[in-house]
Homo-oligomer: 216 residues x 2
Amino acid sequence: MKWDIASHRDDKPAGRIRQKNEDIIIAAAEAEFAHNGFKGATMNNIAQRADLPKSNIHYYFKNKLQLYIEVLTNIIDLWDNALNDLDGDAEPGDALRAYITEKMRFSYEYPLASKVFAKEILSGAPRLAEYFNDDYQDWFNSKTHVFRRWAEQGKIDPVEPAHIVFLLWSSTQHYSDFEVQISAALGKKKLNKKDFEEATDVLCKIVIRGLGVKED
Amino acid sequence: MKWDIASHRDDKPAGRIRQKNEDIIIAAAEAEFAHNGFKGATMNNIAQRADLPKSNIHYYFKNKLQLYIEVLTNIIDLWDNALNDLDGDAEPGDALRAYITEKMRFSYEYPLASKVFAKEILSGAPRLAEYFNDDYQDWFNSKTHVFRRWAEQGKIDPVEPAHIVFLLWSSTQHYSDFEVQISAALGKKKLNKKDFEEATDVLCKIVIRGLGVKED
DNA sequence: GTCTATAGCCGGATAGAC
DNA sequence: GTCTATCCGGCTATAGAC
């Protein structure tokens, strides 16, 4: 793992009850951190969301920071493991459509994860300093590589790949991070699956055409 | 004004000292709220950033919420007054280029404003409920109108205008809100003006081409 | 393993001296 | 108009009963 903050969870036997309670607490913490950020979140609120006594949280997690790190680690692991990269062997149009669709599905299914991460970065990412180290740059370069190759092969226009990646990230995450604003703009109470699919269509169309992909 | 929360500042004479101190405090508060969010921010930190004793803050602003509302109001006023809409009379390519350029300049010049607003929305916007009312939907519809007209005139492809607006918002704000992640990805300490200009170019190119604008 | 009680600190807010 | 001193509530964290 790129980001190796030691976790006390590895030290103790993972009993059935322990595992279950830790999962409940992490889910509750994720919601609380998404709403109030690291500093604004309280162990009290987390306990209430988890429907457990407050000191129970302290029994399973050393302190607030530790719990927060666990939540962030969970989120990053989820994305790293479940989100497929752009498929460099496929045609650009197909690969981009698949990638955008998948990112939008993540925005729809894990809105809290995206929000916790976003708030941490907005705060200047003081608790992710280790994560955003030199390795991160290498990891990022591996993401841009596919665009460079497509450009060399004349399959897309030659535009700076880094900014393409930022565009893909920003436009897709926006639908989970700014959902409140978007639904207010659309006059809806909440966005549903169809809204996300419509957005996915528009994004695919604009990005694929915008990059100059030759479609059949 | 669309969003009419009464301010105590209107009630008192705006002396020279008062005006100056309030400006200092609001700037300090903006930075503090950007870093720690509403709940996480402390009056103590704001006082330190403003280099004033804590109770001075309470003298000028009734309480933390009031101060926060003032900061948010300032931000929204700034955007409403200084950000031009898309020019429907111009050619789509020119209008879009002008709009994207201006939004990116705002991201570069007022990164804190964008962050405070973003955090509020990520939190579910409980302190902007009044702002995101029915009027907001009308205001938003006036933004999408220009795309509808261009589509009717055959000047751009017929794609759902709302999602075009969201794409413009998300892709430009991303550079100020997620600056830490972006600079880490690019291996820089901080983004400079040239980075923003490069990003502007890429965004203009992809969006204009992606919407099927006929360029000369 | 679980919960109550509480220590100890820090937060927002105010009273009142200057 | 400015600042010191302070109240009180809520916060993290822990000690210790069960």
